[in-house]
């Protein structure tokens, strides 16, 4: 398989995943804000931080109000990770490998892009935002299902899964990092009802709420949420799951010896650290390490294959 094609598969999957996750994050934040009293300062700035895009954002906007942030995240051409840009990239990657993708998958990706372009105004306003963003999420889920059900599970498919899992791991760590920073961090502090709501929000932005409840059967609390999102190997959006999947996929590919090394390293670190019991500052440092690790993994993959 051509390196370029492999790389297109990888990035197509990453951008699709990124668009979906961004849509989730915005949706959850919209809902969260409705539940919180005006006195709780939360607002929209954390969303910008999830993308580590603070500097770029303030170059183009005065303040991080709802309208500006949503616009930046959804339609802004200056933001390389905005939903519209992610979908554009995903589509361009898909287009160059059109003859390799099952036709109906290409058509779905194309339709997703076209409909997002058409709906981009409604994603901005409050009234239709939820629906429109949900559309992006559902489309993506459909594409994932179609690919899994109609594409030969060959090397191309392996690169697709690789991209998806690494992007997931990346987004999970970003969300945890930012969200935990804005929450009252210390363990000994009595959790307020609003903290509870916010941790719920974190889970919901990863569609993890229901699964968390089933698994943990506990009141929502920082420790268990962190444990679930970072370490639960059976939850498909946890960091550990992403890493394990990425490794399994790599093992199907030729010449994977070097590429699996940084995954093993990162996983070992993750399991050792007991991140759930880290205090805020150390947690932030730990997450940083995890993200650097994910970058190293991507670098090693592109070094080996692309």
């Amino acid at each position: 398989m051509l390196s370029r094609v492999a790389s297109n598969m990888f990035w197509m999957a990453r951008y699709l995943e990124r668009a979906e996750n961004t849509a989730r994050v915005i949706n959850v934040n919209s809902h969260l804000l409705m539940d919180l009293p005006k006195t709780v300062k939360l607002g929209w700035e954390p969303i910008i931080d999830i993308l580590s895009a603070r500097d770029d954002f303030y170059e183009h906007y005065e303040q991080a109000d709802e309208h500006s942030v949503v616009k930046y995240m959804v339609t802004d051409k200056n933001n390389p990770s905005s939903i519209i840009n992610s979908l554009t990239e995903a589509r361009e990657n898909a287009r160059t490998i059109r003859e390799i993708l099952p036709t109906e998958c290409w058509e779905q990706i194309n339709t997703l892009y076209l409909s997002a372009m058409q709906n981009r105004q409604s994603m901005l306003g409050r009234r239709h935002r939820y629906e429109a963003l949900n559309g992006v999420i559902h489309f993506n889920q459909t594409i994932t299902g179609m690919l899994s059900g109609t594409m030969t599970h060959d090397e191309g498919y392996a690169f697709l899964r690789l991209g998806r899992n690494i992007e997931r791991g990346d987004m999970t760590t970003r969300i945890i990092d930012v969200r935990s920073a804005t929450l009252l961090p210390e363990l000994d502090h009595e959790q307020s009802a609003f903290d509870n709501i916010q941790w719920m929000g974190v889970l919901k932005s990863m569609s993890a709420y229901q699964m968390y409840r089933r698994e943990m059967r506990l009141r929502i609390n920082r420790l268990d949420v962190l444990k679930f999102l970072l370490l639960e190997s059976r939850f498909p959006r946890s960091l550990r799951h992403s890493l394990e999947q990425a490794k399994a996929v790599l093992q199907e590919l030729p010449r994977h010896d070097k590429a699996v090394v940084p995954i093993d390293k990162l996983k070992a670190k993750l399991l050792q650290a007991e991140p759930q019991s880290l205090k805020q500052e150390s947690l932030h440092k730990f997450i940083d390490e995890m993200q650097t690790g994910l970058i190293t993994i991507t670098e090693e993959i592109s070094e080996t294959y692309f």
Partner: protein
């Protein structure tokens, strides 16, 4: 009650399906009576079926818009086929084989011994003026001595019924995928006709192409690595590139997927590491294939590709420099070229062509410029051309000056009356002009597609058949009436 052949006008032009109003040619009788039996609703249905087949099969071509960038458009297709009797076709096929064989000998000779020049048949100064003669190709002996492995020759029919070769495309001719897809659409739309007619199949082209490419491999191995080199997804023919590669089971590669090592071997970058490439079916123009040798800014090519080819480490189809034989001045010499190499008369005639380089012919052109079409040697797509009968006096005067100043660069031809065929225009059959592009593959044997791509000018009176300028296409049926 819609298609009435009695009211279909056949004037002084040759019509491919009817010899006179209401009188179909023998090979077209079945289809004409079938079409006449269709109601308005039937036709509507058939058109819809064809359109949706084209849409679903994703048969498209790319058009550039200044504002919107480029977009894919569905391929414009006419459901009334163009029919040629097999008896006539066999002769055309022979003619094409003869022509391409001679052209390949000519190219090989030009880059090696230049006997045809030494023998005084082809003027040396014409070669010097040729933009498509590549000095880098001198002394190269490509496999089997063949340069133009894939040739698309455009045929037209004049009002007396004679078929002429209008031009040869020896560089990167395109359109064959549409020929293949047109047939698939017709099978979906008019399955009945395929029972009633003995229509010769077209679909073995991709395997013939693959076999031919395999024959060029520098390595004698079971499965040589064959790739199709495309300029990329923004090229107007990308659909065809992807389609042919898919049909052949070959990789579609871009320049950046390939590299040439110090050993002059071409490799493609794969996830398993570099993989040697044996044959490149390249759909990138000569001047872009190797930035080391030609256009240094080219992002489409592969640095070192020319030296790999010169040293026989990779085969290129078509070989670089093949274009030397498809400029319009060389065209005028093709009958002489055939005579010289094969000692045969050309089976398919050229359109009579006046070479302005000869004084007598030049004088004739200048005197009769109002009745002639004057063409510069190396332009394509009608650029820099004078159509005498449609031109103003000033334009004619200008061309007289141009011809006098640079006679080598011009040829002139009488204005042809291109044949027509019934074409569905708003549910009525109306005559529209058309041409035919068969494709000729040259390997150990020479093979011609059964028929070819019929292109039709959808605008009334127009003779421009290009899809980007209001042209469409028809399925071409070679029918065996004796079977």
């Amino acid at each position: 009650m819609t298609i009435r052949w009695g009211s279909y006008k056949v004037t002084n032009l040759y019509d491919e399906l009817l010899r006179a109003s209401g009188k179909p040619r023998a090979a077209a009788e079945i289809i004409c009576s079938y079409l006449r039996s269709l109601t308005d609703e039937d036709i509507e249905e058939v058109k819809l079926a064809a359109d949706s087949a084209i849409h679903v099969m994703g048969i498209s071509f790319r058009v550039y818009h200044e504002d919107e960038g480029s977009i894919d458009r569905d391929w414009p297709f006419d459901i009334i086929p163009r029919i040629i009797d097999k008896q006539e076709w066999v002769r055309i096929e022979e003619g094409l084989k003869q022509r391409v064989k001679a052209l390949n000998m000519f190219i090989d000779d030009l880059y090696n011994d230049q006997k045809i020049i030494k023998d005084g048949i082809f003027p040396a100064e014409l070669l010097k003026k040729s933009k498509n003669f590549l000095p880098e190709c001198k002394g190269v002996h490509p496999p089997l001595g063949i340069w133009a492995h894939i040739c698309g020759s455009d045929l037209v029919r004049d009002n007396d019924g004679t078929v002429y070769v209008l031009e040869d495309n020896l560089r990167v001719p395109s359109g064959v995928s549409y020929m293949l897809e047109n047939r698939k659409v017709m099978k979906r739309v008019f399955p009945e006709m395929f029972e009633q007619y003995n229509i010769l199949p077209v679909d073995d082209y991709p395997s013939e192409l693959y076999d031919m490419l395999c024959q060029l491999s520098p390595r004698d191995i079971e499965q040589p690595e064959i790739v199709l080199l495309t300029p990329g997804i923004y090229n107007s023919a990308y659909f065809e590139h992807a389609y042919l590669a898919q049909q052949m089971g070959a990789e579609v590669v871009e320049g950046r997927d390939l590299f040439v090592d110090d050993d002059d071997i071409v490799y493609m970058r794969t996830i398993e590491g570099p993989a040697r490439v044996d044959v490149i079916y390249r759909r990138v123009d000569d001047h872009f294939i190797d930035p080391e040798v030609f256009n240094p800014d080219s992002m489409l090519g592969v640095p070192g590709l020319m030296r790999a080819w010169q040293n026989g480490k990779v085969a290129l189809a078509n070989a670089p420099g093949s274009g030397v034989a498809d400029d319009k001045v060389v065209y005028a010499f093709v009958p002489d070229i055939i005579k010289y190499y094969l000692n045969e008369e050309a089976i398919i005639p050229n359109v009579p062509t006046y070479k302005c380089i000869n004084k007598e012919e030049r004088d004739y052109v200048i005197e009769n410029i109002h009745d002639l079409v004057v063409k510069p040697a190396n332009e394509s797509g009608g650029a820099g051309m004078l159509i005498g009968p449609h031109a103003t006096k000033a334009e004619c005067e200008k061309f007289k000056r141009l011809v006098r100043r640079d006679p080598r660069n011009y040829v002139a031809q009488p204005m042809l009356m291109l044949s027509t065929a019934p074409t569905l225009i708003e549910n009525k059959a109306e005559p529209r002009h058309l041409d035919l592009r068969p494709f000729v593959l040259s390997g150990k044997e020479i093979k011609v597609t059964t028929g070819g791509l019929t292109r039709v000018a959808l605008r009334k009176g127009s003779i421009v058949v290009n899809s980007s300028q209001g042209g469409g296409s028809k399925d071409t049926w070679i029918v065996d009436m004796e079977a």
